[in-house]
């Protein structure tokens, strides 16, 4: 539609100039400068905590900058609320879907912008418009289906339609691929390319660099709250981009030589958990974890990973099967007894299961170890020893905080996670569950966490790794299983498997038994 001549003459779709935003004690954004050309996909990359989210909240009117100017299509704007941003044609697709599950696609799309006819909802009119929008942008979703029946990819399409329905010409997508498997990512990119061809401008926030390189027309890198580089995707490699993001040499999750022994530490034998529904949550799960071995579990979230962890930790009773730790049947043991016997646990949600946020760091060191040395002395909590050992963890695991009396909530995600890992590695565990160990932590902490896991593995620890980061799974694991619908559907060799193949098993596209 638009020729390159008009493109060159048109003012930038979005121009951010000198944006600065301070929060008490921290500068979230500092002198951010970004120019987004209309009709392009512009990627903004940066590690967690670099200030991407704050920047997008500013652009979407959720927060106001302390300094700087925002121009949309050449016009100065001052957004006070998201409605102002929507009025200027900016729409946001959030990382976590904001959909009401028990409403239909149509109801979700019109929610808050309902077309009225004679005082009621003009459902027929809305349906026609949604169909038109879907047809013209290649985002086909049946408007009358319930959102709870939709898959992740369809839900995302509904989110995009919601934004288009409100007349947005500039779309912000916040980590849109975080929840998608590789095949769905390809579909999303197809949609985005189509939108771009029709003159829409897309701001794409991500830290998955290969994806960014394949979709973006321009890339801006943010580090520590400020823009450090603007690059063309053709001129950089993923590695160079990552190094721009981190500002230093990049870590890799790969482990070198195998340390797997033939001593089985944890043995799952036909573990079955029935839920309230028809299908069991876990069915006949059997696998061993050996000393010095990292066993990776891949799977789309909600396929039984949480139940598997709960079963091993003793938070859920089994309906069938046995769990053995060092040849002892621990199926009937309490969580406490399992922990005392040497099971460590890095939970998937550290705020929910791993920390007492309102307690000082040293009390968090005691958590889960309250019955063991050094935290315990008879009926007392051994404060002196716990405090001293917390100092050791902070030193050895590079937990950056003012001191052991700091409340856990004051730490960044990466430092909280390092504290948890240091704690779980204390007391010579035999077996460790690491659920999403590097989720929401910055690249520096990620490298440190991988190092700790590798060191522990070399020292003979048996590790069960559950992660949504396929590179992490492939890089760290010695054996790799895929969980789908509560069953182990494939055992793969991490040295051979590609992310695409893994994605096929995870979505059930490749049936079991072929591996």
């Amino acid at each position: 539609m638009t020729s390159s001549d008009t493109l060159a003459a048109a003012p930038p779709a979005v121009e951010l100039e000198g944006i600065t935003k301070r929060f008490p004690g921290v500068i979230a954004n500092h002198d951010i400068r970004i120019t987004v050309a209309p009709g392009t996909v512009h990627a903004i990359v940066g590690e967690n905590g670099a200030g991407k989210s704050t920047l997008m909240k500013i652009l979407y009117g959720m927060q106001r900058p302390d300094e700087g100017r925002i121009r949309v299509n050449g016009q100065d704007v001052d957004f006070r609320t998201p409605s102002d941003a929507i009025a200027s044609g900016i729409g946001m697709v959030h990382q976590h879907f904001m959909l009401a599950d028990n409403l239909t696609v149509l109801e979700n799309i019109v929610l808050g912008a309902e077309p009225k006819k004679a005082g009621g909802l003009d459902a027929a009119g809305a349906r026609t418009r949604i169909r038109e929008l879907g047809e013209s942008h290649g985002l086909r979703v049946d408007p009358d289906r319930l959102v709870e029946d939709l898959g992740v990819g369809d839900r995302q399409r509904v989110e995009i339609l919601k934004v288009l329905y409100r007349g947005a010409r500039i779309l912000i997508l916040d980590e849109p691929t975080a929840v998608l498997v590789p095949q769905e990512v390809d579909e999303l990119f197809g949609n985005l390319n189509e939108l771009k061809a029709q003159g829409f401008t897309i701001i794409f926030i991500s830290h998955k660099l290969n994806e960014v390189l394949s979709i973006a027309d321009a890339i801006t890198v943010i580090r520590r709250g400020t823009t450090v580089a603007s690059v063309e995707p053709g001129s950089v490699t993923a590695r160079q981009l990552a190094e721009l993001m981190v500002g230093s040499e990049l870590p890799t999750p790969e482990t070198r030589e195998s340390t797997v022994t033939d001593r089985v530490v944890l043995d799952l034998d036909g573990v079955t958990v029935c839920g309230s529904g028809d299908r069991p949550l876990l069915k006949d799960v059997t696998f061993p974890v050996r000393a010095g071995e990292v066993v990776g579990i891949a799977g789309v979230e909600g396929n039984g990973q949480s139940e598997l962890i709960e079963a091993i930790m003793g938070l859920r009773t089994l309906d069938g099967g046995r769990i053995l730790l060092a040849e002892e049947d621990i199926t009937a043991w309490t969580t406490l007894r399992r922990r005392e016997a040497g099971i460590g646990y890095i939970p998937e949600d550290r705020h929910r299961q791993g920390l007492l946020l309102e307690a000082p760091l040293w009390e968090n060191r005691v958590l889960g170890h309250q019955t063991r040395v050094p935290a315990r002395k008879g009926i007392w909590v051994n404060r002196a020893a716990s405090r001293k050992d917390t100092e050791r963890i902070m030193r050895e695991y590079d937990v950056r905080a003012p001191g052991i009396d700091t409340l856990a909530l004051a730490l960044s995600g990466g430092n909280q996670q390092k504290l948890i890992i240091g704690r779980e590695m204390s007391g010579a565990p035999k077996f460790l569950i690491a659920a999403h160990p590097t989720r929401g932590v910055d690249v520096g902490a990620q490298a440190a966490i991988w190092d700790h896991l590798r060191t522990a593995r070399a020292a003979g620890l048996a590790v069960l790794l559950i992660s949504a980061d396929l590179d992490e799974l492939i890089g760290l694991s010695d054996s790799l299983y895929v969980i789908y619908g509560g069953r182990m559907v494939a055992r793969l060799d991490p040295n051979q498997v590609t992310p695409e193949e893994l994605g096929g098993y995870m979505t059930g596209a490749i049936a079991e038994g072929q591996a």
Binding site: V26, R339, Q353, L367, T371, W380, P402, A410
Partner: protein, 380 residues
């Protein structure tokens, strides 16, 4: 830089002081509306009498009132520490008091043994009565707030029935109230009047300064040790701060609910004893009521910490005692109730504000620390 813990503590104290000051300001408006002068009211509240004996008597009244309030605050706080709302302290102390008073009157052993036995009976009855809502909660998921409120009604009326029926003692000629049989003299807790005499002051009139004060202080120390220093106390705190993290850390939530509730009830059993052992020597139908409910406010004001609860109990006792002098100054004593109400409300608000402030503070400190180490790293 100040240690993080000290800074948090100072902020908490400052919050409580501000809350009390605001409450006084709000109450002044109420006093003005009632047609009196706030200055006169304040003077009346601090008026402990003109002569030495009057001052001693006032102080004694204040301390005697503070003792049961302190114990009630402790009982409530044990549950509050793990987000367990034992509203049933009221019922637990009444049923414990009537049973302990009756049992104590049935035999006559040497002093210390008699008193210890009465204390043990009261704690056992309070603990057992609190066991009911605890068991209902862990086996059937019954909300402890509802269960304990209902059990309060049962306990209050059961106590009233017992003191008129099976546990009733002989009623003296012309006496309108009924009570349990009088305790033998061995169970009369010796008073602490010698504390006044030590300073050359006259002994207070009446029953004097209740000796149970000493028991309350010891109980406060023990509970502080249990909550702040033991494994059990840590488990209570962890469960209160984050129940799912506690569960994943091997803390059995059912065991925690049962033990915290029973401990809370056992301490609640002590609330009635200062009065029974120190003054009335029996449980009568006009026994002091409402201490359990006041204990909720005291625990809240004291932030569930024994030290804070002691201060809060003294403050409430101070306000209660001020009722009489206010009346002499022609100011309606309901002003006291208004002050108490506003204090509790203000403290709840101040708690929220100071908690947020100290968290922001913490985050700022951590961020500053990180910034300096990063710069150091760059420079190096």
């Amino acid at each position: 830089m100040m240690p993080a813990g000290l800074q948090r503590a100072l902020l908490t104290v400052a919050g409580a002081v501000v809350a009390v000051l605001i409450a006084v300001a709000v109450s002044s408006v109420a006093i003005l509306a009632a047609g009196a002068s706030p200055v006169t009211a304040l003077q009346a509240m601090f008026d402990f009498g003109d002569t030495q004996i009057q001052v001693v008597n006032s102080v004694t009244t204040l301390l005697n009132r503070a003792v049961p309030l302190f114990v009630a605050g402790l009982a409530v706080a044990i549950g509050f520490r793990m987000n367990l709302f034992n509203i049933g302290v009221e019922g637990q102390y009444r049923i414990a008091a009537v049973v302990a008073a009756f049992v104590g009157s049935q035999f006559d052993l040497p002093g210390p043994v008699q008193i210890l036995l009465i204390i043990a009976v009261a704690m056992a009855v309070g603990g057992l009565y609190a066991l009911i809502p605890a068991v209902l909660k862990v086996t059937r998921g019954v909300n402890e707030v509802i269960a304990t409120i209902m059990l309060n009604y049962i306990a209050i009326n059961l106590a009233a029935f017992l003191v008129r029926g099976p546990f009733a003692g002989e009623r003296a000629e012309g006496q309108l109230t009924t009570s349990t049989p009088e305790l033998p003299e061995s169970a009369w807790f010796p008073n602490l009047n010698f504390l006044f005499e030590m300073f050359g002051l006259p002994a207070p009139r009446g029953g004097g300064l209740w000796g149970f004060l000493a028991v309350a202080v010891v109980a406060g120390l023990i509970i502080w040790l249990v909550l702040e220093r033991t494994r059990f106390g840590f488990e209570v705190k962890a469960t209160g701060l984050n129940a799912s993290a506690a569960l994943a850390s091997g803390i059995d939530p059912k065991r925690m609910v049962i033990s915290a509730m029973v401990l809370s009830g056992a301490v609640a059993g002590l609330i009635g004893l200062p009065e029974i052992l120190g003054r009335t020597h029996a449980y009568g139908s006009n026994f002091t009521a409402g201490l359990g409910f006041l204990g909720i406010a005291v625990a809240l004001l004291g932030r569930n910490r024994p030290g804070g609860i002691a201060v809060a109990a003294l403050l409430f006792a101070f306000l209660d005692r001020a009722g009489a002098p206010l009346q002499f100054a022609d100011i309606p004593p309901s002003v006291i109730t208004i002050i108490q109400g506003t204090i509790v409300l203000m403290v709840v608000i101040a708690n929220e504000v100071t908690i947020r402030m100290s968290m922001r503070n913490e985050e700022r400190r951590a961020a500053r620390q990180l910034a300096t180490t990063n710069q150091a790293g760059v420079a190096a």
